[in-house]
């Protein structure tokens, strides 16, 4: 890019340098205070220094709303762009990303995030801390599971997950009440009830942790090594309303099928603290296949009616 760019065109609002073979976007861009849309698709960006340093603090960093870097060679989300607090739309589709940094949550204004066509294997729960996100595209990646925290994205209207490696979804997904589009095709979703999900019995540490929590044994940070204090803070509550127990790492993973529109059965993963517990979905304890295949009404019926428009393709 020419060095005099910001002097010649100080009022520049939209810049499209797509398909120009650029290997870096330089500091010439930083002083453009009115630039809100930068399109740089199909270039050779991706190496260190692809984006100018100090992007977040520069005039450009405050004005930029739309950034399209799809079709480049980024192997990681460039840290330079994480300071763009005003950014509303980010596309890194068709790059070489292997993951999403938890710092993605710093893009507080993000509404549109396109990460389709990469090599992403997992999603950080911090992604759920984006308060305005309404369109999330994660299709054509290598994602094996969705963190349940993603259900906190209350404003999500469209979620694209097709062509990944998902076998089930977290049951919290039905809490996404504004979701209108959900694509799941091309995932090896479990179709039939898996009878023997292995249960690893809890360790002594886990059993001690559970006792401390359920009996409210008082403790202070000075009483325990730091790692155990942290461990105790990670207790999860058993979803069985009659149980009230907690678990740490050892839990029963149980797949329940939830009907949508009576046509599409989504396998949702429930975590229970022991095989004797039952999930909120059913009132009786379950051990038989037919039980779990038929009891989908309670939890699902309300959410299912909301999600009836969802195209599950």
């Amino acid at each position: 890019l020419p060095a005099g760019l910001s002097q010649w065109f100080p009022a520049l609002e939209v810049l499209d340098v797509s398909g120009t073979g650029l290997a870096e976007l330089g500091a010439e861009l930083l002083a453009l205070p009115r630039l809100h849309t930068l399109l740089a698709k199909n270039n050779r960006l991706g190496g260190p220094g692809s984006l100018p340093k100090g992007l977040g603090q520069a005039p450009l960093g405050r004005s930029l709303r739309v950034l399209n870097l799809s079709g480049n060679r980024f192997a990681e989300v460039p840290p330079a762009l994480l300071g763009l607090r005003g950014l509303q739309s980010l596309s890194l589709g068709g790059n070489r990303l292997h993951g999403i940094p938890p710092e993605i949550q710093e893009l507080r204004s993000l509404e549109f995030l396109y990460l389709g066509g990469n090599f992403i294997t997992s999603i950080p729960p911090e992604l759920a801390n984006l308060p305005s996100l309404n369109y999330l595209v994660l299709c054509d990646n290598k994602i094996q599971s969705i963190p349940p925290q993603l259900a906190q994205l209350h404003s999500l209207r469209s979620l694209s997950l097709h062509n990944n490696l998902l076998t089930y979804l977290p049951r919290e997904i039905i809490n996404l009440v504004h979701l209108e589009e959900l694509s799941l095709r091309g995932n090896p979703l479990v179709v039939r009830f898996v009878r023997d999900l292995t249960y690893n019995p809890p360790s002594l540490q886990e059993l001690a942790g559970r006792t401390i929590k359920t009996r409210n044994v008082p403790y202070a940070p000075s009483d325990l090594p730091e790692n155990l204090v942290r461990y105790l803070s990670l207790a999860s509550n058993c979803p069985n309303p009659k149980c009230g127990g907690v678990y740490f790492d050892s839990c029963v993973r149980q797949i329940k099928f939830v009907d949508f529109c009576g046509k599409y059965r989504l396998p949702l993963m429930h975590y229970l603290c022991s095989p004797e517990c039952s999930s909120p979905c059913s009132s009786a304890s379950q051990s038989s296949t037919s039980q779990s295949e038929s009891d989908s009404e309670d939890e699902a019926s309300v959410a299912a009616r909301r999600m009836q428009k969802v195209l599950l393709g």
Binding site: G93, C139, R157, S183
Partner: protein, 195 residues
Amino acid sequence: MEQPVQTETWKAQSLEELVRILHRIFAEDKVSVEEVQALMESYESNPEEWLQYAKFDQYRYTRNLVDNGNGKFNLMILCWGEGHGSSIHDHTDSHCFMKILQGNLKETLFEWPEKKGNGEMAKKSERVLRENQCAYINDSIGLHRVENISHTESAVSLHLYSPPFDSCNTFDQRTGHKHKVKMTFYSQFGERTLC
């Protein structure tokens, strides 16, 4: 035994001319699929002529009505953002022509599921349609899914359906179960329709 229809070789020089010729063809009692397909392919896409109909939606593909063919056909423009795709669907006993105006679309053909459909639907074939190519399908050929698999480019396609229809069945690829859906227009004649 049907009489073969006199097929002409048309060349539509503009979108307007394409519509005019379509009206002429569909005014007849018999219409030849090959003739319509060749006509659609003959039109060289010129964005200036159809940009007013190409309204994109952030979340999913849109259907924008261009002409309602005196009730004989519907001509519409579909706009596909990056990664947008359709479900597997049928065509309610109508003829469906699909011409690419911009970008590329992948078409995957499926067999009709068995009556007691409870297994994964069988894929017949797939292909990527390039700019100006025109594909044809009807229920006797099978079902299809259409998607823009590009993560960097949007796609625009021109569709002709005859007779017009406003509902069809969508199919769950994993089980073959079908579900009737109503189709709506995002815009008509260049004006956004709010519903």
